[in-house]
Amino acid sequence: MDAHNSMFEVKDLACSRGNKPLFEAVSFSLKSGQALHLEGDNGVGKTSLLRMVCGLSPADAGEVRWQGQPVQADPSAFRAALFYLGHNLSLKEELSALENLQADAAVAGRTLTQEQALVALARLGLRGREHLPLRVMSQGQKRRTALARLLASQAPLWVLDEPFVALDAKAVDGLRSVLAGHVAQGGMVLFTSHQPITLQRADGAPLAVQSYRLQSVPQKARP
């Protein structure tokens, strides 16, 4: 992946629900090797912003640029560089963790061998549970399966909506090291979380995490 000089910019994005403006003039940018923590109160529109950034919903105003080009110019190239994990984990209850991982990688246009998938699952503490159908797994284990997709992904840009939810302390540490590894290799991470998150390199040196606070548009008093 040519992640070492990638550039992702969001310019003046605005969103409204019905007649009510949710947020406006949201601008930030990410370069290779940077992580951005998107903060904001409940209901301020973090999830809407992330969906907009990915191109799942259209922006009311503003644009998203990848490598200096508007995303609409070459959506396929942007999608190949993007990994999105939303509130819905996109896992099939009837399939095993391994089957889920492999089907998902193929849909995202990548080949994932069984060995690679098993390594990714083992790293998130799911060794021995690779062949269990997801419906017998706990909520936390399902989330771990979804997060194992991160390890299997080669996309430089990760957009994660609340990745730390429902994880135990050990899994939170595991995920932090996965994110840190990605950033250290020149990847980009955009995530939301309600806890403060710090990232460390493998040698213990801290990695900078920028933060962006999403503000709602002040409601005008009705005449």
């Binding site: 799942l56 939303g86 099939k92 009837e94 193929a106």
Partner: protein
């Protein structure tokens, strides 16, 4: 990449159908029950039975495929798989086409295979049975393809099931008329060539345009 993603979606949907057998069998069982009850209700008047057979079998197949239609995109929409398909670098109409093909293999092909067996109850001649099976073979994919557009348009709408029937049934009428008409035309010595040509003329544009229409509707549903 496109081919790989197409095969992955097809494989996943077939695997899911295999693991959720009851859902698949409900629709097929419905077809068998409808077709088996009619001769009992009408009585042993062979001429009447021969006359109503194509209509009864076609209406049964049509309603049975309507039953299965509602689930075409529902589960994928709820668990987020559809989002991942929309964000795939592979072409979305192709992935939607894979889903429709899987749906036809699971919900349409069993009807085609069962039709000649059920047709025996109506004292259909070998010639008529062959025509009926061929007509269903061309007709059932149209039901999946055109019905898929309806399923995509009503996705996420409350009471979508009723709306789906209202939307799709008028579009199914030509298929029903020419599908059932083929058998009668063959029996009366006119030949079913014209009917088959018309059915093919409906199938080919449906194969070509339906995945595009469907993925446009799905993108709107995801917003």
């Amino acid at each position: 990449m496109n081919r790989q993603a197409f095969l992955a979606v097809l494989r996943r949907d077939l695997l899911l159908a295999l693991r959720r057998k009851s859902e698949v069998l409900t629709a097929v069982f419905f077809f068998v029950v409808v077709a088996a009850l009619f001769p009992l209700g009408i009585g042993p008047e062979l001429n009447t039975l021969r006359l109503v057979a194509p209509g009864v079998l076609w209406v049964g197949a049509l309603l049975s495929s309507m039953l299965a239609l509602q689930r075409l995109f529902e589960a994928d929409y709820r668990d987020g798989t559809l989002e991942q398909m929309a964000l795939s670098p592979a072409s979305m109409p192709l992935l939607v086409g894979a889903k429709m093909l899987a749906h036809w293999l699971v919900a349409g092909v069993p009807l085609v295979l069962l039709a000649p067996v059920l047709g025996l109850q109506f004292d259909l001649s070998a010639d008529a049975l062959l025509t009926l099976t061929l007509a269903l073979l061309i007709g059932t994919p149209i039901l999946s393809l055109v019905g898929g557009i309806g399923a995509a348009l009503t996705l996420g709408v409350r009471g979508g099931g009723v709306l789906l029937s209202l939307l799709v049934l008028p579009l199914f009428v030509p298929v029903l008329v020419f599908g059932a008409g083929a058998v009668e035309a063959q029996a009366s010595g006119l030949g079913s060539q014209a009917h088959f040509s018309i059915l093919m003329a409906m199938l080919l544009p449906a194969v070509f345009f339906s995945p595009w229409a469907c993925s446009a509707a799905l993108r709107i549903a995801l917003e």
